[in-house]
Symmetry: none
DNA sequence: CATGAATGAGTGTTCATTCAT
DNA sequence: GATGAATGAACACTCATTCAT
């Protein structure tokens, strides 16, 4: 046995993350209520009791899953939106590309599905999700649009509804991947969707003079 | 008691519909697993046992709720899309307006939330929802777009992705109303969203020559 | 099947009492925490779920057991103590005889044991037991003693401590029967104990002139 | 740090006693089943695992608590009862005074409450308690009474029941302090109770000629 | 048809006990 | 010796489903 490499190390620091990862899988597959702690524990490679060393209740575990999955992603959007100097077309293309990339490569779609599903049973979670995630992301996009309107780059219109026009199709794509594709629907290429949609949205939103 | 038309006679025939209506409320509020048959029965004004006179299991009741809620709506979209003679701009505006109207006045948003939430636990339902609802609606829109592209009205591009561009923001609006607004987010006017978005989408999708 | 004698009658009215009786047995044997609802249900001849049709929690069932067992007994003592005209010696003899009789023929000893055991975990119960049972019984006895002291029948001294002198040995007898006797100790005849003790207590308590 | 007398050395030997002391507190507050080893360990200032270095099971720890708490007290009673030369009145007064003193200043009341509560679940403990504690104490008192009866000091009557008359009120006082007082009942002064009761009991028990 | 009392399998949670460190 | 992370059996409580009335 090589020294410094104990066969079985106490995992106190790694465990919570492992459990959250396992829980994300199970919650995403089954939903909150249908997810069994036995399954989560088994998938995390621990006993059921061990879950309670790190999370007080199933509720708490679910909340931790959502928070953990979301925090890193929201930063990216906000940061990109702070590139005030860029023309709107460039910035918008950048934002949607980042979003599509994240949606394609992370579990954020599954988390969104969970939040949609359980918003009624987790009022706190819905509020957090609104205040810290969707609200912030939307505010960033709305801010970008408002500034572009002020500079005459984007045509008039409610900036929040413009933001919905920009983001909505991506949400549809994510839901499609999470819900329809597993049921046999032909898959959607999120990156291609983002690329084609941003062309449409930009052409539709840019003021007359701003079009090529 | 007036002979021939006792009040309870009509009840008997209306029961299944009343139960489905009550179930829709409870399922929409709580989700499938958290909905209790006691609550549904109480809200329908019948005994718990009576539910089993009309539906074999909770599963069946849920399926009936989803089917009942969608069938009438899908027809409207398909019918509108058969107006082949209309210019794309007119037809597209019509389709989105109908969709927004339905979304604003029916429970279809709540049902969509339920299907999204429970797709993992109801494979059959997800397939039915795809084959009979979303698939058909999407196919109708895609057909309209393809014909418009063939006539040179709509610029090239994957017609399905174009359809996502058209419909996506409305889904976002519905999710917003069902999930974010109850958590304190400012509400969205679905009709205004549809009106502004179709302007954007049309400008973005129409071929060069087709723009005003 | 004889009419009017259904093979299996709905027991809605009889059930709670049956369950409380079964619960009393099990609680008395094992104590609150060690009593299993499965056992109680089995002994009552019902399913575990049925318990919850009548009692919200195990806690509630325990409380019901205590209340039910006590109410009838306390009346007897209070009633006897209202015989103001009787000489103290007669009344005291009567009270102890009644108490011994009740202790010998009812489950009140087992209930007392339970209350003693669980007073720390059931603050409400301990308070109820004090206010409605022990307190009232003691007050009745103290009242009798005070009146007898006023009439010069009983010698001076704190009437509450005199009451302890009268009642204490009976409690010891009950505890003995519940705790020591099952462990192999020779049994005590509660009636004989009461009879001999009241002679001692009366002789000890009566004023000089009152003794034979 | 002074060499040769490190502070932790004394700890090592004191550990079992510290644990038993902590366990007594927790058992007395919560009862056996509701007492958590975590609490006991925390209160003793050791880890949960450390408990198992000194006691095999929770059962054993409970047994140790009871044994430890009673042994010293029983000696006092037996020793006092060996003063054969003293008149009964003197000896009885002495015994009750000692008992009241011990009851007022030690945890013996809490232990008695525990034994009463758990006698059903700890048959061994109930037997030990009977054979080594209550039985011995009672036998000592009974012996004193029998000798006094032989000398004509105490009137006839079952000596064991006489012993119950002497001791019972003190038990009631202890139960009162442990159970009723914490629930809001007015407290009892155990020493005053013993003093007043022994007057009563002596007057009641002494043979005609023996009274002052 | 309709009721609602009764069932019992299923699950979140606790906690005495173990053992690698 | 001492720790405390980990275990897993045990149990209170829920609720879809049944069926005697």
């Amino acid at each position: 046995m090589p020294p410094g490499q104990p066969k079985w190390r106490r995992r106190k620091e790694a465990r919570p993350a492992e459990i959250v990862a396992a829980a994300l899988e199970v919650f995403a597959e089954k939903g909150f209520a249908a997810a069994k702690l036995d399954d989560i524990a088994a998938r995390a490679g621990v006993s059921k009791g061990a879950l309670y060393l790190y999370f007080e209740t199933k509720h708490d575990l679910f909340t931790a899953v959502v928070r953990t999955s979301v925090a890193p992603n929201i930063e990216a959007v906000e940061e990109a939106s702070r590139n005030l100097a860029l023309p709107f077309a460039t910035l918008a293309r950048m934002l949607l590309t980042i979003a599509a990339e994240r949606a394609a490569t992370t579990q954020i779609g599954a988390v969104a599905k969970m939040v949609i599903a359980e918003s009624g049973n987790f009022p706190d979670l819905a509020r957090v999700w609104h205040e810290e995630v969707v609200g912030r992301a939307l505010a960033a996009v709305v801010g970008v649009i408002e500034r572009a309107q002020a500079r005459g780059e984007v045509r008039p219109g409610d900036p929040r509804l413009h933001a919905f026009s920009m983001i909505g199709p991506l949400l549809l794509g994510v839901i499609w991947r999470e819900v329809m594709a597993p049921a046999g629907a032909p898959p959607v290429d999120l990156r291609a969707l983002a690329a084609q949609h941003i062309d449409t949205a930009l052409t539709g939103m840019l003021a007359e003079g701003g079009r090529s």
